[in-house]
Symmetry: C2
Subunit: 370 residues, 2 copies
């Protein structure tokens, strides 16, 4: 089916492991068995879900699959970034071993970004790789984490230090799953969509500004359309740079250099990912102004949009030295230099490896440090 | 350099992750820095070695790299299959984190198949994948395990259940490293080379039979040539079927269905891998005769060759039921059916998914069971 004939199809992502469909719409969980076949899958389904989705969503997915004759086993995982460890992975492996999961079987993630990272890593490494479906249940996962094949777990020393690129065979985002999401989770999710507009699509940014009331209220058609457009942007970037070897995929890291450092220094317990990224965009935007890349006006517009969606842009009280130290151990460091993604216009970003530490320090001090 | 101009070049393996050179020869560790550059590598080296190779071989490799200006960190791993666990992997990750390993750095495995599996898996999963060099130090690793990008760790419930396909950027096999290998390890190593002859290259089998004295004595030129030819066979198979999706790569599993079951049922403590595979070839060869695929004479020839190289072909006293049960949980099962690789001529093999359990049971009973 081409995007033209299937109104729910947001993108087809091309990868070296094959192409996969990203479907976004209202009340589309019922399409799962058909999409399962369309993706070329057969065998059993191993549904691994965030325990917060038990029993309602878990049972709905299981019953939908079983009704179509797909044998489905279910396991739940503890919620939250703290559970994204080798130890949890070990439990998943033992469960798969006890049920004799085979190479022709499929792992399905039902949950947010954390669940998707773990189930994706399990799929990447079980029997050296089995098929994998993403059913994201948070806005952040729908517009960002479920796309691009990044999977990971955390070490005590850093987030996502261990992982693999393992592409899903299907991403199915049912907006109805967002209705039970806590409001703070929902707000956090808009951060990555706003980011896509800021770095790559001025029109998307404008439309999000113009429709903010409808989006915040999750009004069906408008929300689905904006999510599909945000998905299409990320899909295009990750198709062009599957393994993050070039610079284009690194652009998606806007706001993440300080964002990751903030999450790590607060032990992933204070800020949601989108909130940390919003604060990180505040820092990166300010650095962009300091280096003369963008006007003060564009930065103010970024701040206003983030605030409109209920997102913070600063967080006084953190330790500047610790944050700066943590940016240096970021995965995307090259030869010890921090790679900063900065705005250089509305809907346009650039990568800089020569940002003076004094500029970083002053900015971090002003917005998040003490 | 083409194979014609470089006498040590055994093969160039083509993969979706790029091509890599397999170099086999005497006293060639000195070529490591040049090969490092030829493979397009820069950055630091993280040398992870079997502790049995400390200090002599470890220091030689480290000094060779450092003399060429490549910063080299060293870690050792406990010897043996029992250490191939998630826990050991966790130590490797912590070590890499403490030294801030970056995406542009390279992990080097110095050891046998177990070390290569672990270091390869670490390279596959550290920062979602970094470069990896194999320096195999056992015959089994040179002719088999170092090629093809399979990496893995064991679970309590089974061997190699967790892993990834991650291709090395270079395989460098220095025959001088074999000189300190225990005789039993060396004998075990010939099993896979004999297997390559049996399933795919009748001429290699004949030449190994004719030159067995020279090979057992590790006489330089003859041994290097036979290893290069064995490497070239495996390289051709894994180039054609990188992810073991087709049948051709499964042919390499000849002797492994029962071999893996024997290793697991004896807790990896009684037989070396090559010994278990030799016994497994005894079983698979006998099944081939029972199904009328090969003559009794070819089976006798297989047995004679394995014995000539000091390898067992039977192992009475094991539990038949347990072995058969274990074959069913093999990674290569499809829809619950065991896939048997059987000989159907000298230098030729076939895959059968319909071997009657009675034939398996009778054969296993006769050769290894009680």
């Amino acid at each position: 089916m081409s995007p033209g004939t299937d109104p729910n199809l947001a993108a087809v992502v091309e990868t070296t492991q094959g192409a996969y469909r990203v479907v976004v719409g209202q009340n589309i969980l019922t399409m799962l068995p058909d999409e399962f076949s369309t993706a070329g899958l057969s065998g059993r389904a191993f549904l691994i879900a965030d325990e917060a989705l038990f029993p309602v969503a878990v049972r709905t997915v299981q019953e939908t699959l079983e009704a179509a004759g797909i044998v489905t086993h279910v396991m739940t995982l503890p919620s939250g970034e703290q559970a994204k460890t080798l130890e949890t992975m070990s439990h998943i492996y033992d469960w798969l071993a006890s049920l004799r999961g085979e190479r022709g079987d499929t792992l399905i993630s039902l949950g947010g970004g954390v669940t998707g990272d773990m189930v994706g890593f399990a799929a990447a490494t079980w029997l050296r790789g089995v098929a994998f479906i993403q059913i994201p249940t948070t806005l952040a996962a729908m517009v960002d984490a479920s796309l691009g094949g990044k999977t990971a777990i955390n070490l005590k020393t850093g987030k996502n230090l261990v992982g693999a690129f393992h592409q899903p065979r299907l991403v199915l985002s049912d907006l109805d799953l967002l209705k039970t999401l806590p409001e703070r989770e929902l707000r956090s999710g808009w951060a990555e969509a706003i980011k896509h507009g800021l770095i790559l699509d001025h029109k998307l940014l404008e439309d999000m500004e113009a429709n903010s009331d409808s989006l915040i209220a999750l009004e069906g058609d408008t929300t689905a359309e904006i999510i599909r457009r945000s998905v299409a942007i990320k899909a295009k970037v990750v198709s062009a740079d599957e393994f993050e070897r070039g610079d284009s995929r690194i652009l998606l890291n806007y706001g993440h250099t300080i964002g990751h450092a903030i999450e790590a220094s607060t032990a992933y317990g204070t800020f949601l990912h989108g909130e940390a990224v919003a604060i990180g965009m505040g820092v990166a935007g300010r650095i962009s102004v300091e280096l003369g890349l963008i006007s003060e006006e564009l930065l103010e517009r970024q701040e206003a949009t983030l605030k409109r969606f209920g997102l913070p842009t600063r967080a006084p009280g953190l330790d500047t030295d610790e944050l700066i130290e943590r940016t240096k151990s970021d995965k995307k460091s090259r030869g010890g230099a921090v790679q900063w993604v900065l705005l250089d216009g509305p809907g346009h970003a650039t990568i800089r490896r020569d940002v003076p530490e004094l500029v970083v320090r002053t900015t971090v001090d002003g917005l998040v440090g003490v």
